[in-house]
Protein backbone atom coordinates (compact mmCIF):
# COMPACT_ATOMS: atom_id res chain seq x y z
CA UNK A 1 0.00 0.00 0.00
CA UNK A 2 1.55 3.33 -0.98
CA UNK A 3 1.65 4.90 2.48
CA UNK A 4 3.50 7.99 1.36
CA UNK A 5 0.67 9.39 -0.69
CA UNK A 6 -1.83 11.55 1.17
CA UNK A 7 -5.03 9.62 1.94
CA UNK A 8 -7.72 9.96 -0.70
CA UNK A 9 -10.54 9.78 1.84
CA UNK A 10 -10.21 10.61 5.50
CA UNK A 11 -13.01 10.70 8.08
CA UNK A 12 -12.12 12.14 11.49
CA UNK A 13 -14.49 11.89 14.39
CA UNK A 14 -17.24 12.13 11.82
CA UNK A 15 -20.81 12.16 13.06
CA UNK A 16 -24.02 12.19 11.09
CA UNK A 17 -27.67 12.54 11.94
CA UNK A 18 -30.64 13.58 9.84
CA UNK A 19 -32.41 16.61 11.25
CA UNK A 20 -33.40 15.86 14.81
CA UNK A 21 -33.32 12.11 14.22
CA UNK A 22 -31.12 9.60 16.04
CA UNK A 23 -27.40 9.30 15.34
CA UNK A 24 -26.78 7.48 12.09
CA UNK A 25 -22.99 7.45 12.13
CA UNK A 26 -21.06 7.96 15.33
CA UNK A 27 -17.47 9.14 15.69
CA UNK A 28 -16.23 7.55 12.53
CA UNK A 29 -12.48 7.47 11.90
CA UNK A 30 -11.45 6.01 8.58
CA UNK A 31 -8.46 6.67 6.36
CA UNK A 32 -8.28 5.28 2.86
CA UNK A 33 -5.25 5.41 0.57
CA UNK A 34 -5.50 5.94 -3.17
CA UNK A 35 -6.04 2.68 -4.97
CA UNK A 36 -7.55 0.83 -2.04
CA UNK A 37 -10.60 -1.35 -2.44
CA UNK A 38 -12.62 -1.02 0.75
CA UNK A 39 -15.68 -3.12 1.42
CA UNK A 40 -18.33 -1.93 3.84
CA UNK A 41 -20.42 -4.56 5.46
CA UNK A 42 -22.95 -4.45 8.28
CA UNK A 43 -26.59 -4.79 9.15
CA UNK A 44 -29.37 -3.05 7.27
CA UNK A 45 -29.74 0.56 8.38
CA UNK A 46 -26.27 0.87 9.93
CA UNK A 47 -25.32 3.79 7.73
CA UNK A 48 -23.41 2.27 4.81
CA UNK A 49 -25.31 4.17 2.14
CA UNK A 50 -25.09 7.30 4.25
CA UNK A 51 -21.32 6.92 4.41
CA UNK A 52 -21.07 6.73 0.63
CA UNK A 53 -23.36 9.74 0.29
CA UNK A 54 -21.09 11.66 2.63
CA UNK A 55 -18.05 10.89 0.51
CA UNK A 56 -19.99 11.91 -2.57
CA UNK A 57 -20.90 15.21 -0.94
CA UNK A 58 -24.61 14.50 -1.27
CA UNK A 59 -25.29 15.13 2.38
CA UNK A 60 -23.24 17.11 4.90
CA UNK A 61 -21.54 15.83 8.04
CA UNK A 62 -23.11 16.81 11.33
CA UNK A 63 -19.79 17.01 13.17
CA UNK A 64 -16.16 16.03 12.63
CA UNK A 65 -14.28 16.30 9.37
CA UNK A 66 -14.11 14.57 6.04
CA UNK A 67 -11.52 15.11 3.38
CA UNK A 68 -11.87 13.68 -0.11
CA UNK A 69 -8.99 13.93 -2.54
CA UNK A 70 -7.42 16.67 -0.42
CA UNK A 71 -10.54 18.81 -0.57
CA UNK A 72 -13.95 19.02 0.97
CA UNK A 73 -16.39 16.49 -0.50
CA UNK A 74 -18.26 19.22 -2.41
CA UNK A 75 -15.14 20.51 -4.03
CA UNK A 76 -13.72 17.13 -4.94
CA UNK A 77 -15.24 14.52 -7.07
CA UNK A 78 -15.34 15.49 -10.63
CA UNK A 79 -13.75 12.06 -10.75
CA UNK A 80 -16.25 10.21 -8.68
CA UNK A 81 -18.82 7.68 -9.75
CA UNK A 82 -21.64 6.32 -7.63
CA UNK A 83 -23.69 3.22 -8.25
CA UNK A 84 -26.71 3.87 -6.07
CA UNK A 85 -28.54 1.15 -4.22
CA UNK A 86 -31.48 1.70 -6.56
CA UNK A 87 -30.84 1.79 -10.31
CA UNK A 88 -31.70 5.50 -10.78
CA UNK A 89 -31.98 5.52 -14.56
CA UNK A 90 -33.55 8.38 -16.48
CA UNK A 91 -36.88 6.94 -17.64
CA UNK A 92 -36.97 9.04 -20.82
CA UNK A 93 -33.65 7.80 -22.17
CA UNK A 94 -32.87 4.47 -23.75
CA UNK A 95 -30.27 2.26 -22.12
CA UNK A 96 -27.59 3.50 -24.52
CA UNK A 97 -28.47 7.14 -23.93
CA UNK A 98 -28.52 6.61 -20.18
CA UNK A 99 -24.99 5.32 -20.30
CA UNK A 100 -23.71 7.98 -22.64
CA UNK A 101 -25.33 10.91 -20.84
CA UNK A 102 -22.67 11.55 -18.18
CA UNK A 103 -20.01 11.24 -20.86
CA UNK A 104 -21.63 13.78 -23.10
CA UNK A 105 -22.13 16.07 -20.09
CA UNK A 106 -18.37 15.96 -19.71
CA UNK A 107 -17.91 16.82 -23.34
CA UNK A 108 -16.68 13.43 -24.54
CA UNK A 109 -16.96 13.22 -28.32
CA UNK A 110 -19.81 11.13 -29.77
CA UNK A 111 -17.52 8.59 -31.39
CA UNK A 112 -15.61 7.95 -28.19
CA UNK A 113 -18.87 7.84 -26.24
CA UNK A 114 -20.30 5.12 -28.34
CA UNK A 115 -17.11 3.06 -28.13
CA UNK A 116 -17.18 3.32 -24.35
CA UNK A 117 -20.87 2.57 -24.22
CA UNK A 118 -20.44 -0.57 -26.28
CA UNK A 119 -17.56 -1.69 -24.10
CA UNK A 120 -19.41 -1.32 -20.79
CA UNK A 121 -22.66 -2.75 -22.11
CA UNK A 122 -20.71 -5.77 -23.27
CA UNK A 123 -19.14 -6.01 -19.89
CA UNK A 124 -22.50 -6.20 -18.13
CA UNK A 125 -23.79 -8.40 -20.97
CA UNK A 126 -26.65 -6.18 -22.01
CA UNK A 127 -25.67 -5.23 -25.55
CA UNK A 128 -28.94 -6.43 -26.97
CA UNK A 129 -30.93 -4.09 -24.71
CA UNK A 130 -29.15 -0.92 -25.85
CA UNK A 131 -32.32 0.53 -27.33
CA UNK A 132 -34.74 -0.56 -24.62
CA UNK A 133 -36.23 1.96 -22.20
CA UNK A 134 -35.70 1.40 -18.47
CA UNK A 135 -39.31 0.35 -17.96
CA UNK A 136 -38.75 -2.57 -20.31
CA UNK A 137 -35.91 -4.02 -18.23
CA UNK A 138 -35.85 -6.60 -15.45
CA UNK A 139 -34.65 -5.55 -12.01
CA UNK A 140 -31.21 -7.02 -12.49
CA UNK A 141 -30.88 -5.53 -15.95
CA UNK A 142 -31.61 -2.04 -14.64
CA UNK A 143 -28.95 -2.46 -11.99
CA UNK A 144 -26.46 -3.61 -14.60
CA UNK A 145 -27.14 -0.55 -16.70
CA UNK A 146 -26.50 1.57 -13.66
CA UNK A 147 -23.18 -0.23 -13.09
CA UNK A 148 -22.22 0.16 -16.73
CA UNK A 149 -22.95 3.86 -16.55
CA UNK A 150 -20.60 4.28 -13.59
CA UNK A 151 -17.84 2.21 -15.17
CA UNK A 152 -18.07 4.24 -18.36
CA UNK A 153 -16.83 7.23 -16.40
CA UNK A 154 -13.47 5.64 -15.44
CA UNK A 155 -13.62 7.51 -12.14
CA UNK A 156 -10.88 8.05 -9.59
CA UNK A 157 -13.17 7.00 -6.75
CA UNK A 158 -15.91 4.48 -7.31
CA UNK A 159 -18.74 4.21 -4.82
CA UNK A 160 -20.74 1.02 -5.18
CA UNK A 161 -23.84 0.52 -3.05
CA UNK A 162 -24.78 -3.15 -3.22
CA UNK A 163 -24.39 -3.14 -6.96
CA UNK A 164 -24.69 -6.88 -7.32
CA UNK A 165 -27.46 -7.57 -4.82
CA UNK A 166 -30.06 -8.15 -7.49
CA UNK A 167 -27.86 -10.36 -9.64
CA UNK A 168 -27.54 -14.08 -9.92
CA UNK A 169 -24.37 -15.67 -8.73
CA UNK A 170 -22.86 -16.22 -12.16
CA UNK A 171 -23.36 -12.68 -13.33
CA UNK A 172 -22.17 -11.52 -9.99
CA UNK A 173 -18.94 -13.45 -10.16
CA UNK A 174 -18.42 -12.41 -13.72
CA UNK A 175 -18.76 -8.77 -12.71
CA UNK A 176 -16.53 -9.24 -9.67
CA UNK A 177 -13.80 -10.42 -11.93
CA UNK A 178 -14.42 -7.70 -14.47
CA UNK A 179 -14.20 -5.13 -11.72
CA UNK A 180 -10.81 -6.38 -10.71
CA UNK A 181 -9.62 -6.53 -14.30
CA UNK A 182 -10.63 -2.95 -15.00
CA UNK A 183 -8.99 -1.94 -11.78
CA UNK A 184 -5.68 -3.24 -13.00
CA UNK A 185 -5.80 -0.69 -15.77
CA UNK A 186 -7.31 2.28 -13.90
CA UNK A 187 -6.11 2.29 -10.31
CA UNK A 188 -9.26 3.72 -8.82
CA UNK A 189 -10.21 3.64 -5.19
CA UNK A 190 -13.39 1.73 -4.45
CA UNK A 191 -15.91 1.83 -1.64
CA UNK A 192 -18.04 -1.22 -1.98
CA UNK A 193 -21.15 -1.97 0.06
CA UNK A 194 -22.16 -5.61 0.01
CA UNK A 195 -23.93 -8.16 2.12
CA UNK A 196 -21.85 -10.99 0.74
CA UNK A 197 -18.81 -11.69 2.86
CA UNK A 198 -17.24 -13.85 0.15
CA UNK A 199 -17.61 -11.05 -2.35
CA UNK A 200 -16.08 -8.57 0.09
CA UNK A 201 -13.13 -10.82 0.74
CA UNK A 202 -12.61 -11.56 -2.91
CA UNK A 203 -12.64 -7.96 -4.04
CA UNK A 204 -11.18 -5.81 -1.33
CA UNK A 205 -7.94 -5.23 0.46
CA UNK A 206 -9.77 -4.02 3.53
CA UNK A 207 -13.15 -4.85 5.01
CA UNK A 208 -14.89 -2.41 7.31
CA UNK A 209 -17.49 -4.03 9.51
CA UNK A 210 -20.17 -1.71 10.83
CA UNK A 211 -22.60 -2.20 13.64
CA UNK A 212 -25.84 -0.33 14.02
CA UNK A 213 -27.71 1.90 16.50
CA UNK A 214 -25.88 4.15 16.16
CA UNK A 215 -23.91 3.04 13.12
CA UNK A 216 -20.23 2.89 13.87
CA UNK A 217 -17.13 1.24 12.51
CA UNK A 218 -16.84 -1.89 14.59
CA UNK A 219 -13.60 -3.19 13.15
CA UNK A 220 -11.43 -3.21 10.05
CA UNK A 221 -10.01 -6.39 8.61
CA UNK A 222 -7.19 -6.31 6.08
CA UNK A 223 -7.36 -8.81 3.24
CA UNK A 224 -3.81 -9.92 2.49
CA UNK A 225 -4.29 -11.82 -0.79
CA UNK A 226 -2.33 -10.34 -3.65
CA UNK A 227 -3.97 -9.11 -6.82
CA UNK A 228 -4.76 -10.31 -9.43
CA UNK A 229 -7.20 -12.63 -7.72
CA UNK A 230 -8.81 -15.36 -9.70
CA UNK A 231 -11.08 -18.32 -9.49
CA UNK A 232 -8.14 -20.03 -7.76
CA UNK A 233 -8.09 -17.44 -4.98
CA UNK A 234 -11.76 -18.09 -4.45
CA UNK A 235 -11.13 -21.78 -4.00
CA UNK A 236 -8.09 -21.43 -1.75
CA UNK A 237 -8.06 -22.45 1.87
CA UNK A 238 -6.98 -19.05 3.31
CA UNK A 239 -9.79 -17.43 1.39
CA UNK A 240 -12.36 -19.72 2.98
CA UNK A 241 -10.84 -19.20 6.39
CA UNK A 242 -10.99 -15.47 6.10
CA UNK A 243 -14.59 -15.58 4.88
CA UNK A 244 -15.42 -17.69 7.92
CA UNK A 245 -13.62 -15.28 10.23
CA UNK A 246 -15.34 -12.25 8.84
CA UNK A 247 -18.70 -13.98 8.99
CA UNK A 248 -18.11 -14.83 12.59
CA UNK A 249 -17.21 -11.27 13.49
CA UNK A 250 -20.22 -10.02 11.62
CA UNK A 251 -22.48 -12.38 13.52
CA UNK A 252 -21.01 -11.26 16.78
CA UNK A 253 -21.79 -7.68 15.86
CA UNK A 254 -25.29 -8.10 14.73
CA UNK A 255 -27.69 -10.00 16.93
CA UNK A 256 -28.59 -7.29 19.40
CA UNK A 257 -27.97 -4.41 17.07
CA UNK A 258 -30.31 -5.20 14.21
Amino acid sequence: MPALLPPIVEFREATKRFGEGPLVLDLLNLTVQPGEFVSLIGPSGCGKSTLLRLIAGLTPLTAGSLIVDRRSPDAAAADLAFVFQEPTLLPWLSVAANIELPLSLRGVAPAERSVTRRRVLDLVRLSEKANAYPRQLSGGQKMRVSIARALALSPKILLLDEPFGALDEMTREHLNEELLTIRERHAWTAFFVTHSVAEAVFLSNRICIFSANPGHLYTEIPVPFPYPRTEATRRSRPFHDLVADVSRILRSVEPDTV
Binding site: A56, L58, A77, T88, L90, P91, W92, L105, Y133
Partner: protein, 263 residues
Protein backbone atom coordinates in the same frame (compact mmCIF):
# COMPACT_ATOMS: atom_id res chain seq x y z
CA UNK B 1 -63.45 -1.41 -31.91
CA UNK B 2 -60.01 -0.19 -32.92
CA UNK B 3 -58.50 2.66 -30.93
CA UNK B 4 -58.64 4.93 -33.92
CA UNK B 5 -62.31 4.21 -34.40
CA UNK B 6 -63.01 4.78 -30.73
CA UNK B 7 -61.31 8.13 -30.90
CA UNK B 8 -63.85 9.16 -33.48
CA UNK B 9 -66.81 7.26 -32.18
CA UNK B 10 -66.94 8.38 -28.56
CA UNK B 11 -66.71 12.11 -29.05
CA UNK B 12 -69.22 11.74 -31.85
CA UNK B 13 -71.58 9.83 -29.57
CA UNK B 14 -71.29 12.47 -26.88
CA UNK B 15 -71.78 15.06 -29.60
CA UNK B 16 -74.99 13.40 -30.69
CA UNK B 17 -76.20 13.44 -27.10
CA UNK B 18 -75.31 17.09 -26.71
CA UNK B 19 -77.11 18.00 -29.90
CA UNK B 20 -80.16 16.00 -28.89
CA UNK B 21 -80.17 17.75 -25.52
CA UNK B 22 -79.76 21.07 -27.27
CA UNK B 23 -82.81 20.51 -29.47
CA UNK B 24 -84.78 19.29 -26.49
CA UNK B 25 -83.95 22.32 -24.40
CA UNK B 26 -84.78 24.52 -27.34
CA UNK B 27 -88.14 22.84 -27.68
CA UNK B 28 -88.83 23.06 -23.97
CA UNK B 29 -88.05 26.75 -23.81
CA UNK B 30 -90.95 29.10 -23.79
CA UNK B 31 -91.39 30.82 -27.13
CA UNK B 32 -89.91 34.13 -26.06
CA UNK B 33 -86.74 32.55 -24.71
CA UNK B 34 -85.95 30.48 -27.79
CA UNK B 35 -84.02 33.20 -29.56
CA UNK B 36 -81.32 32.88 -26.91
CA UNK B 37 -80.55 29.31 -27.92
CA UNK B 38 -80.74 29.00 -31.69
CA UNK B 39 -80.98 25.42 -32.93
CA UNK B 40 -77.92 23.67 -34.37
CA UNK B 41 -79.61 23.92 -37.77
CA UNK B 42 -79.92 27.67 -37.38
CA UNK B 43 -76.27 27.85 -36.37
CA UNK B 44 -75.27 25.82 -39.41
CA UNK B 45 -77.25 28.17 -41.60
CA UNK B 46 -75.59 31.13 -39.95
CA UNK B 47 -72.25 29.50 -40.68
CA UNK B 48 -73.10 29.41 -44.33
CA UNK B 49 -74.61 32.90 -44.46
CA UNK B 50 -71.69 34.47 -42.67
CA UNK B 51 -69.00 32.20 -44.06
CA UNK B 52 -67.02 35.05 -45.55
CA UNK B 53 -66.84 37.29 -42.53
CA UNK B 54 -66.29 34.36 -40.18
CA UNK B 55 -63.41 33.03 -42.25
CA UNK B 56 -61.82 36.44 -42.44
CA UNK B 57 -62.29 37.01 -38.71
CA UNK B 58 -61.01 33.54 -37.87
CA UNK B 59 -57.83 34.06 -39.88
CA UNK B 60 -57.35 37.36 -38.15
CA UNK B 61 -57.84 35.87 -34.70
CA UNK B 62 -55.67 32.87 -35.50
CA UNK B 63 -52.73 35.16 -36.05
CA UNK B 64 -53.10 36.80 -32.67
CA UNK B 65 -53.77 33.48 -30.97
CA UNK B 66 -50.75 31.81 -32.54
CA UNK B 67 -48.39 34.66 -31.83
CA UNK B 68 -49.66 35.12 -28.28
CA UNK B 69 -49.47 31.39 -27.65
CA UNK B 70 -45.94 31.18 -29.00
CA UNK B 71 -44.91 34.18 -26.95
CA UNK B 72 -46.51 32.71 -23.84
CA UNK B 73 -44.74 29.39 -24.33
CA UNK B 74 -41.39 31.06 -24.84
CA UNK B 75 -41.62 33.58 -22.05
CA UNK B 76 -43.17 31.16 -19.58
CA UNK B 77 -40.49 28.57 -20.25
CA UNK B 78 -37.76 31.03 -19.44
CA UNK B 79 -39.64 32.34 -16.44
CA UNK B 80 -40.27 28.84 -15.16
CA UNK B 81 -36.58 28.07 -15.50
CA UNK B 82 -35.71 31.18 -13.52
CA UNK B 83 -38.32 30.35 -10.90
CA UNK B 84 -37.18 26.77 -10.57
CA UNK B 85 -33.56 27.70 -10.11
CA UNK B 86 -34.04 29.17 -6.68
CA UNK B 87 -36.60 29.40 -3.97
CA UNK B 88 -35.64 33.02 -3.50
CA UNK B 89 -36.38 33.95 -7.08
CA UNK B 90 -39.60 32.04 -6.66
CA UNK B 91 -40.84 33.88 -3.63
CA UNK B 92 -39.51 37.15 -5.01
CA UNK B 93 -41.13 36.92 -8.43
CA UNK B 94 -44.22 34.81 -8.06
CA UNK B 95 -46.44 37.49 -6.51
CA UNK B 96 -45.69 39.80 -9.43
CA UNK B 97 -46.54 37.17 -11.98
CA UNK B 98 -49.81 36.73 -10.16
CA UNK B 99 -50.40 40.46 -10.40
CA UNK B 100 -49.82 40.29 -14.13
CA UNK B 101 -52.39 37.52 -14.38
CA UNK B 102 -54.91 39.16 -12.10
CA UNK B 103 -54.87 42.70 -13.32
CA UNK B 104 -58.03 43.07 -15.39
CA UNK B 105 -57.46 43.52 -19.11
CA UNK B 106 -59.49 46.70 -18.85
CA UNK B 107 -56.57 48.28 -16.98
CA UNK B 108 -53.96 47.22 -19.51
CA UNK B 109 -56.00 47.70 -22.63
CA UNK B 110 -55.92 51.51 -22.80
CA UNK B 111 -52.17 51.57 -22.18
CA UNK B 112 -51.62 48.94 -24.81
CA UNK B 113 -53.70 50.80 -27.32
CA UNK B 114 -51.90 54.02 -26.60
CA UNK B 115 -48.42 52.55 -26.58
CA UNK B 116 -48.33 49.73 -29.09
CA UNK B 117 -51.46 50.68 -30.96
CA UNK B 118 -54.61 48.69 -31.43
CA UNK B 119 -54.37 45.66 -33.63
CA UNK B 120 -52.32 42.50 -33.93
CA UNK B 121 -49.62 43.58 -31.48
CA UNK B 122 -52.08 44.37 -28.72
CA UNK B 123 -54.10 41.24 -29.39
CA UNK B 124 -50.94 39.19 -29.19
CA UNK B 125 -49.98 40.76 -25.89
CA UNK B 126 -53.42 40.20 -24.39
CA UNK B 127 -53.43 36.59 -25.57
CA UNK B 128 -50.01 36.23 -24.03
CA UNK B 129 -51.20 37.68 -20.72
CA UNK B 130 -54.11 35.25 -20.64
CA UNK B 131 -52.09 32.16 -21.60
CA UNK B 132 -48.83 32.49 -19.81
CA UNK B 133 -49.78 31.98 -16.19
CA UNK B 134 -50.98 28.36 -16.33
CA UNK B 135 -47.85 27.60 -18.31
CA UNK B 136 -45.55 29.21 -15.77
CA UNK B 137 -47.21 27.53 -12.83
CA UNK B 138 -47.28 24.09 -14.38
CA UNK B 139 -43.81 24.20 -15.83
CA UNK B 140 -42.33 25.51 -12.60
CA UNK B 141 -44.06 22.84 -10.59
CA UNK B 142 -42.72 20.26 -13.02
CA UNK B 143 -39.21 21.64 -12.77
CA UNK B 144 -39.19 21.52 -8.98
CA UNK B 145 -40.84 18.11 -8.69
CA UNK B 146 -37.92 16.18 -10.11
CA UNK B 147 -37.32 12.80 -8.49
CA UNK B 148 -34.84 13.39 -5.70
CA UNK B 149 -32.80 10.32 -6.57
CA UNK B 150 -32.19 11.63 -10.04
CA UNK B 151 -31.26 15.03 -8.66
CA UNK B 152 -28.64 13.31 -6.52
CA UNK B 153 -27.38 11.46 -9.56
CA UNK B 154 -26.74 14.76 -11.28
CA UNK B 155 -25.31 16.25 -8.12
CA UNK B 156 -22.87 13.34 -8.19
CA UNK B 157 -21.81 14.15 -11.68
CA UNK B 158 -21.09 17.69 -10.58
CA UNK B 159 -22.92 19.00 -13.60
CA UNK B 160 -23.43 22.69 -13.99
CA UNK B 161 -26.76 24.03 -12.86
CA UNK B 162 -27.60 24.57 -16.52
CA UNK B 163 -26.85 20.97 -17.46
CA UNK B 164 -28.95 19.75 -14.57
CA UNK B 165 -31.80 21.84 -15.82
CA UNK B 166 -31.45 20.91 -19.48
CA UNK B 167 -30.83 17.21 -19.17
CA UNK B 168 -32.74 16.37 -16.04
CA UNK B 169 -35.27 18.90 -14.87
CA UNK B 170 -36.59 19.84 -18.27
CA UNK B 171 -37.34 16.31 -19.48
CA UNK B 172 -38.72 15.38 -16.06
CA UNK B 173 -40.99 18.43 -16.20
CA UNK B 174 -42.41 17.56 -19.60
CA UNK B 175 -45.59 15.91 -18.31
CA UNK B 176 -46.37 19.05 -16.31
CA UNK B 177 -45.35 21.29 -19.17
CA UNK B 178 -47.69 19.55 -21.57
CA UNK B 179 -50.50 19.82 -19.06
CA UNK B 180 -49.93 23.55 -18.97
CA UNK B 181 -49.66 23.61 -22.74
CA UNK B 182 -53.02 21.94 -23.04
CA UNK B 183 -54.60 24.60 -20.88
CA UNK B 184 -52.86 27.36 -22.79
CA UNK B 185 -53.91 25.91 -26.14
CA UNK B 186 -57.50 26.23 -25.03
CA UNK B 187 -56.99 29.70 -23.68
CA UNK B 188 -55.19 31.06 -26.74
CA UNK B 189 -58.16 31.46 -29.10
CA UNK B 190 -60.40 32.83 -26.41
CA UNK B 191 -57.59 35.12 -25.31
CA UNK B 192 -57.21 36.41 -28.83
CA UNK B 193 -60.95 36.95 -28.97
CA UNK B 194 -60.90 38.96 -25.77
CA UNK B 195 -57.87 40.83 -27.05
CA UNK B 196 -59.68 41.51 -30.27
CA UNK B 197 -62.64 43.16 -28.65
CA UNK B 198 -60.61 45.12 -26.18
CA UNK B 199 -57.72 46.20 -28.34
CA UNK B 200 -58.21 44.81 -31.79
CA UNK B 201 -58.50 46.78 -34.95
CA UNK B 202 -60.62 46.60 -38.04
CA UNK B 203 -57.70 47.80 -40.13
CA UNK B 204 -57.57 46.04 -43.46
CA UNK B 205 -60.01 43.25 -43.05
CA UNK B 206 -62.64 44.14 -40.48
CA UNK B 207 -61.42 42.73 -37.19
CA UNK B 208 -61.33 39.28 -35.68
CA UNK B 209 -63.81 37.01 -33.99
CA UNK B 210 -64.15 39.31 -30.98
CA UNK B 211 -65.38 42.12 -33.23
CA UNK B 212 -67.83 39.78 -34.89
CA UNK B 213 -69.10 38.51 -31.57
CA UNK B 214 -69.86 42.01 -30.35
CA UNK B 215 -71.52 42.97 -33.60
CA UNK B 216 -73.67 39.87 -33.75
CA UNK B 217 -74.54 40.18 -30.11
CA UNK B 218 -75.53 43.84 -30.47
CA UNK B 219 -77.70 42.93 -33.43
CA UNK B 220 -79.27 39.96 -31.64
CA UNK B 221 -77.94 37.65 -34.34
CA UNK B 222 -77.68 34.80 -31.90
CA UNK B 223 -77.23 32.06 -34.47
CA UNK B 224 -74.30 33.98 -35.92
CA UNK B 225 -72.97 34.58 -32.42
CA UNK B 226 -73.05 30.85 -31.80
CA UNK B 227 -71.31 30.26 -35.10
CA UNK B 228 -68.60 32.69 -34.00
CA UNK B 229 -68.19 30.82 -30.73
CA UNK B 230 -68.05 27.55 -32.62
CA UNK B 231 -65.32 28.97 -34.82
CA UNK B 232 -63.33 29.87 -31.73
CA UNK B 233 -63.79 26.34 -30.47
CA UNK B 234 -62.60 24.89 -33.75
CA UNK B 235 -59.48 26.99 -33.47
CA UNK B 236 -58.97 25.69 -29.97
CA UNK B 237 -59.39 22.11 -31.15
CA UNK B 238 -56.74 22.59 -33.78
CA UNK B 239 -54.35 24.03 -31.22
CA UNK B 240 -55.11 21.24 -28.78
CA UNK B 241 -54.72 18.55 -31.40
CA UNK B 242 -51.26 19.92 -32.10
CA UNK B 243 -50.36 19.88 -28.44
CA UNK B 244 -51.72 16.39 -27.86
CA UNK B 245 -49.81 14.97 -30.80
CA UNK B 246 -46.61 16.58 -29.63
CA UNK B 247 -47.21 15.32 -26.12
CA UNK B 248 -47.79 11.80 -27.40
CA UNK B 249 -44.63 11.93 -29.48
CA UNK B 250 -42.53 13.07 -26.58
CA UNK B 251 -44.01 11.08 -23.70
CA UNK B 252 -45.61 7.86 -24.82
CA UNK B 253 -42.43 5.83 -24.79
CA UNK B 254 -41.62 6.37 -21.17
CA UNK B 255 -44.26 8.20 -19.18
CA UNK B 256 -46.72 6.37 -16.98
CA UNK B 257 -49.65 8.42 -18.26
CA UNK B 258 -49.41 6.47 -21.50
CA UNK B 259 -50.09 2.77 -21.38
CA UNK B 260 -47.60 0.46 -23.01
CA UNK B 261 -48.90 -1.65 -25.81
CA UNK B 262 -46.52 -4.41 -24.75
CA UNK B 263 -48.51 -5.73 -21.84
Amino acid sequence: MSRRLQTIFFPAATGALVIAAWYTIHALLSEDLRFLLPTPTAVMTAFRTHADSLTRAALNTTQGALLGFALAVTVSSFLALALSLSRLVRIGLYPYLMILQMTPVIVFAPMLVVWVGAGLKSVTIITFLICFFPLVVNTTQGLISTDRNLVELFAMWRTSRLQQVLYLRVPAALPYFFTGLRIAATLAPIGALVGDYTAGSSAGDGGGLGFQAIIYSSQAKYAALFATAATTCILGFIFTAGVLSLSWLVLHKWHDSYETTDK
